[in-house]
Subunit: 117 residues, 2 copies
DNA sequence: CGCCAGTGCAACTCTAGGGTTGCACGTGGA
DNA sequence: TCCACGTGCAACCCTAGAGTTGCACTGGCG
């Protein structure tokens, strides 16, 4: 529901926090590989409990990285690229900004050096 | 020292962990804005102690996001875009991969639906 | 030469969150 | 119908790490 084009700070924060955990990244890899999966089947492929997986999925869901839908008595989760893509663009923009600033600083420093050697 | 071109998992991990903390992101913003700064001057602009800033700078340095150099009796830190840029590309690639996989799944699902309606 | 600013190191507190166990609930299949 | 499987909820442990305080060290400047 969040406007994808706006660089929302809160959403970037939640995505970064979500991706900081290695278990969650593994979870995302598994989900991306299998398309859809339940917390139970995911837990079978990881060295943690189903409950832990459920908590991680909740965090990932809050960050918009996955979404779950009920099918019968089970809940199938799938990966959502939008939030990840938005964060990637935010990060690329930040890196470009740093480059810009560093180039500026360097230019100014060289100009100052030329004035008073 | 790390080869920038290799998508090193460990370095991506350290960058994500480093960026997950809001104080560290603020620190990076300040550094990017000022070009160079010491732990002491940075601490003056933040609601935390200099020691906390030093620890954060150590984490950022280990992730390759900043680097510090001694000038006289003070240590000037500056931002390094390379690691951030590499992580941004890693993330963009991951998002693209997810898109690819989701499109595949969808295609297969539609083919199966066409077979047995 | 003495003093102060800026660092570095170490020990300590405290909370967020990753992980677990145990149980109750509901839905599908035999 | 009954039972088993997958989920949901709550309470709990335990460690990583964000932050603090206190002190020792050292290079610069008056």
């Amino acid at each position: 529901m969040t406007d994808e084009r706006r660089g929302d700070v809160a959403s970037v924060d939640s995505v970064l926090v979500a991706l900081a955990d290695p278990t969650r990244r593994q979870l995302l890899d598994l989900l991306a590989a299998q398309g859809e999966a339940t917390a139970t089947t995911l837990a079978e492929q990881l060295p943690v409990t189903r409950q832990a997986v459920v908590k991680h999925l909740a965090v990932l869901d809050a960050a918009g990285l996955v979404s779950g839908g009920r099918v019968g008595r089970e809940v199938r989760y799938a990966v959502r690229p939008a939030a990840l893509d938005a964060t990637a663009r935010w990060m690329a923009g930040l890196a470009a900004d740093w480059d810009r600033r560093l180039a500026n600083i360097k230019r100014i420093a060289e100009a100052a050096e030329r004035d008073s050697p």
